[in-house]
Symmetry: C5
Subunit: 281 residues, 5 copies
C-alpha cells in the first residue's frame, strides 16, 4: 500500500510541489467569509477556480463532496476530504474538532487524500491525537494519504505559570517579534513534528514570519511534507506572494490557500502568480 | 442510491414545495402545548389535519410512529422520523439532544425521511455534528433523505468577550432589529450552511425577519433546500401568513409548522391559507 | 412482534387492569426499607404475597430474578425485570440510574416485561432517554413490552431563574397545593408523555393529588397505559386506598406498589382491598 | 451453568466455610504494605502460606496470576482473579476502580472465581454497578462465580445536608459507637444487599462491630454468602480472632484476609488459629 | 505464547541486560530537544547511533516506525513501538497519554515489543491502567512483550491534606533528600509494582538516588525487569555513568536513554562507556 499512498501523494504534490485550494471555511467560519465576494459561496465557482487556476487539489467537507461528486470528477482536481470540522459559534472552551467521517466515507466520495485538524495544546489534544492516529493507520492500510492541519491552540499556550519549556521559548520569541503565539517557531515546529510522529504525509501549518525559522520547522517535520496555510486575506497581493516565496525558499512544498484566492475580485490572477512562484511556470 | 434519496425528497417537497406538519412538541415542550386545544394531544387528531390539510409530511418521534404505524400508512402522509429529542425540563446547561433512534429504526417504522436537531453554538455542538454527520452518511447509503433542524443555541451566542466574528456581526444585527440573537441572519445562515456542509437534503430554520436577509440564508444553504420553522402561535393568522409569503419570496421551499396549525380552533382553515401561499392552489 | 408484545402486556394488565408488586427497593433504598417488617427482606416472603395476593406481576432486579428463577416460575406471577438501578448512597448530583442489564438478559431470566427508570429534568436525562429508547426498540423487536418508571427529578425542577414554561406552571401549581414539585400535574404529565413519545407500553408515575389533574396526565400518555407508583407507606390503609380509587376513576389501569403492601403487618389484607378497587372482585 | 457456578463456589466455600487469602494490596496500597514483613512482597511466599495454611482461595490481579500461573496450579489453591483495581496515589476525588480484565481473561488464567470492588456512594457508583452487573451476567453465563468487594465510600457518606435516610441512620449509628461511617450497619448492610441485587455469589464486606448488627447485614445479603474483610493488622492476634468468632456467630461463611496474616512474623500460626474458628478443625 | 514473549524479551534484554535507545522525545517534548544537537532531529542519525552503539532496542512512535520501516529492519535493532503519547503543550491538568495505536499496529510495523506510559497518581490513572492492562493482555496473547513507562505524576502527589500513606512516606523522604517527589522510593516503587501487578515484562522508571532505595524498588517489581529512565542530559558524563553503575548494582537490567546519548557531541563515546558498565564488554 505504501506505493499507492506515494502515488496519490504525488497527484497532490506533483514534481514535489503543491497548490491546494481550501474550501472548508463555510463550516469553520460560516457564510461571513463569503460576504466579501458573494460568488464564493457557490461550489461551482470554487471548482471553476480550482480547474482554471490549475490547483493540485481542493479541500471540502462531505456535504459538498457528495452533492458535487460528479462535478468534482469532471473538473479532474484531486479531492481532499476534510474528516473533522467545527463552527466558530461555540467559544467557551479550548477547541475540539470531532471526527465526522471515516476513511471509508472518503473513499466512497472519491477522495485522493483525507485531512484532519489537530489543535495541539488544547484540553482536547488527547482526543484529536487519538482520532488522527487512527485515521492515518486506516488511511495507509487502505492506500490513501493523510494530511494534518497542525494548529496548536488553547489557553495553555499563554499560561506563563504552568508553561512547559516549549511554551517558555514561544513566549520569549513572541516578545522579540510581532507574531501571535501560534505563529512562533517553537509552537509551529512542534505541531509539525507531531504530524510526523503520528505519520502524516503532509502537514498544513502557519507561517513563522521568516525563512530561517520556517526552515527549522520544515526540518523538524521532514520527511513529512509541509504546506503553508493561506490564512485571512492580506491587504495586498504582494504581502501574500512574499510569504509564498519565503516558505518555498525554506523548503516547503507549497501552500493550501482559500480566502487569499476566492475573496479577491479576480481569483485567477493571484492564482497564476502563486503558481509562478511554486511551480516556476 | 442518489436517485432514491431524490425520489423520496420529491415526495416531501413535491414540485419543489413543502408543507410539513410538525408534531414532536409532546417531547420537546410537553403536554402544556396541548392545553390551548386539548384535542391536539391525540395523534388521531393530528393525522386528520395532515390528511385533510394535504400536508406533504408529518414529523413524529418513534413512540407515536410505532403505535400509529398503520394509521399513518392509511393516511398516506409521508413520515419524517425525528431521531433525536429532549425535554424542556433540564435547564442547567447548553442544549444537547441525543440521538435516540437509528436510520434502520426509521426504515423499519416506514419513514420517508429522518430528522435531527443540531444546536450549533452549544457546548455539545461537537456531539451533535458527529451524530448528524453519521446519520446523513447512513441515510444516504440506505437511500433516504436527512433533514436538519439547524438551531444555533447556547451561552456562547451572547458572550461578547469571547465572541467570534460571526457572533459580533449577530450582536450588531440584533441591536438594529427586534430579533432574538438566534433569529439574526449571521446566525441563521451559519446554521443553514452547516446543514449543507454536513450534507443535509433539507434544513429547517428560523425566520430572520426580512425577505432580503432570508435570501442570503437560502443562498448560503443552497443547494440544500430550506423550510422555515413555524414557531409559537402568532397573535393573528395574518402575522403568520405574512412570514410564509416572505420566506417563499426569499427562495425557501416551504415550512414545517405545528402550533400555528393545531393550536388554532380550526386548523384546516389556516392550513388551506398556507397551502395557497406555498403551492398557489 | 406487535401481537406478542400485546399478548405479554395483557398478562400484566389482564382485562385492562394491573396490580404490580414492586420489589426493587433493596437496591433503590437499601435494607432500611425492610426494618419495619423484617420478613420483607426475603424474596420467599414477597413471592408468597405476590401469589396469594394475586398480583399481576412482580418487579425485581437481576440478582433476585436469577437466584429465585425457579421459585418465580412456580409462583406463576409474571416477572418484570428492572434493567437499571441506583442506590440512595450517592447524593451529590442529579440522579442517573444506569442500564445494568439488556433485554436479552431479561429474556434469559424468563421476564414477561422489562422496566427502566427515566429521571427527566436530571442533568443526565439525555443518557437515560437514550438508554430507554434503545431498550424499547430492542424489546419490541424481540416481542416483549417495556415499562417506564417516569420520574422527573433534579435541581432544574425548582430553579426559578432558568425555568422553562412547564416548570413555571409546576411552580405555580405547587403554590396552590401541598404537592411536592414532582407531584404537580405539569411535571407528572410531561414525564408520562415522554413515556409515550419513546414508545413505552406502560408508564409508572406519581399521583398528582386529584382525579381531575390525573385525568389530564392519563390523557397525555394515552394510548400508553398508566399505573400509579405506590410510594412510601401511608399512615392509614384508607389514605392509600383512596388514592387507588381516584387514579382508577381518572383512567389509570392500576398500580405498582411495594412498601404499602409488604411493610404492613398483614400484607394480604390490604392486597385484597386493593384488588377489590382495581378489579372489582 | 448454575450447577457449574455452584460447584466452583463450593471449591472456595467448602462445607459452607471460606478462608480466603487476599493479595491485591501491592496494587491497592503499594509496596508500603510489604515493609512490615519484606518477604511478603514475593508471590512465592504468599503461595506457600496459602498452601500450608490451607486457605480455600487466593486473590491476585492478572500480572501475578499470569507470571505464577504454573506455581498457583501446583499449589492447588483456587484462584480468584480481581478484575478491577486502583492505586492509592490519586486522592483528589471519590474512588473509581475500573475494570481491567474480562471474565474471559480470568478463565484463560485458570481462575475459579472473579472479584470486583464496588464503591457504592462514590460519584462513580454508576460505572461500577454497570461493570459489576455485566461481569456477573457474563461469569454466570460462563459458569464461574462472581465475588463483590462491597465497600461504600465517598464524600456523600458524611454529607449531612444532602443525606438520604440510610445515611442519616448511619450518621446516628456512628455517634453511638466508635465505628467509622463505612463500618456502620446501615452502610455495610446496604453494600451487601447491592451485592445480592446485582447477583453476586459472595460479598466481602467490613465488620460492623457487633454480632447483632452483623447478623442483620448477613440477613440483608442472604442468600448471597458473606465473608468479612480482614482489614489492617490489628495490635494483637486476639483482637483479630475475636472478630472472626463474631462474624461466624453472625452467620458469615468466613473471611478474606491479607495483612493480618502475611504482615505477621509467623503467618502460619495465626492462619491455624483462624482455621480452627472457621472450620472447627 | 509465553515462550514467544520470553524469546522477544530476550532480544531486548540479551544475557539479562538491556541498553535501549529512546526516541519518543519529538512527540513528548517537541523539537526543542533537538536544538542542542540539530542532527538528532533525524531518524537516520538516531538509527546510526543505535546500530554502531550496539543498543539492544530503539523506541519510536508509529510515524517514524512506518516511514523508516525498512531502514530499521536493515539496522537490525529491535523496535519498541510506543503505543501512547502526548505533547508538553497542554499544561492545564493532570497528565493523560492516550493510546494511539494497537498491538496489531505494532506487529504490522515489525515491533519486537510495545511500550505504554502510565501516569499513576494522575486524575486519569484509571484510563491509563485500563488501556495498559488491555494492551498487556493482547500483547501476551499475540506473543509480544509489553513495557511500562511507570511515571507517577499529578497534583495528588504533593497534596498533604488528602495524602494516602504512601504519599505521606514520599513527602517525608523528600524532606530528607534533594529528590523530586516522583523520584522518592515510595512513589517509584509503587509505580514499578503496578507494572508487575498489571503484568508488564519490563518497567522503565526514574532513579531514586541511592543503591539501597533502588534495590527496594527492583525487589518490589520482581520478577518484572527494571530499566532506569535516562532523563535530561546531565552536566557531565560521570554524573550519568555513576547512576548507571548504581542501578546495575541495585539489580536493574539496564537503562532506556535518549537525551544523555544523542544530545551529546559524540554519542558513540558515551554509548560505549554505558555499554561497558551494563554488559561489561
Amino acid at each position: 500500500m505504501k506505493e499507492k499512498v506515494a502515488a496519490l501523494t504525488e497527484r497532490i504534490v506533483p514534481n514535489g510541489r503543491a497548490m491546494i485550494l481550501a474550501y472548508d471555511q463555510g463550516f469553520e467560519h460560516g457564510p461571513r467569509d463569503f460576504l466579501e465576494n458573494p460568488e464564493s459561496r457557490k461550489m461551482e465557482y470554487i471548482l471553476d477556480i480550482a480547474q482554471k487556476g490549475r490547483f493540485t487539489a481542493v479541500v471540502v467537507h462531505a456535504g459538498l463532496a457528495e452533492k458535487y461528486q460528479s462535478e468534482i470528477q469532471d473538473a479532474k482536481v484531486p479531492l481532499i476530504l476534510k474528516l473533522n470540522g467545527k463552527s466558530e459559534l461555540y467559544t467557551g472552551d479550548d477547541p475540539y474538532s470531532p471526527q465526522l467521517y471515516s476513511v471509508a466515507d472518503a473513499l466512497a466520495l472519491g477522495a485522493t487524500a483525507v485531512g484532519y485538524t489537530v489543535y495541539s495544546a488544547s484540553k482536547y489534544e488527547d482526543q484529536m491525537n487519538k482520532e488522527f492516529a487512527a485515521i492515518i493507520r486506516e488511511a495507509h492500510n487502505k492506500g490513501i494519504p493523510a494530511i494534518g492541519w497542525m494548529y496548536p491552540r488553547g489557553k495553555s499556550l499563554t499560561d506563563r505559570e504552568l508553561a512547559s519549556r516549549t511554551i517558555k521559548m514561544a513566549l520569549e520569541e513572541r516578545e522579540h517579534t510581532n507574531l501571535a503565539i501560534d505563529e512562533t517557531y517553537p509552537i509551529v515546529a512542534y505541531g509539525a513534528r507531531i504530524g510526523l510522529e503520528l505519520g502524516a504525509d503532509i502537514v498544513k501549518i502557519k507561517y513563522t514570519g521568516s525563512v530561517e525559522s520556517f526552515k527549522w520547522v520544515v526540518q523538524s517535520a521532514s520527511p513529512t511534507k509541509v504546506v503553508m496555510s493561506g490564512g485571512p486575506k492580506t491587504k495586498t497581493d504582494e504581502e501574500f506572494l512574499t510569504m509564498v516565496k519565503e516558505i518555498i525558499a525554506a523548503g516547503a512544498v507549497g501552500i493550501a490557500v482559500g480566502r487569499n484566492v476566492w475573496q479577491r475580485k479576480n481569483p485567477l490572477i493571484i492564482s497564476e502568480k502563486i503558481r509562478q512562484i511554486i511551480f516556476g511556470s
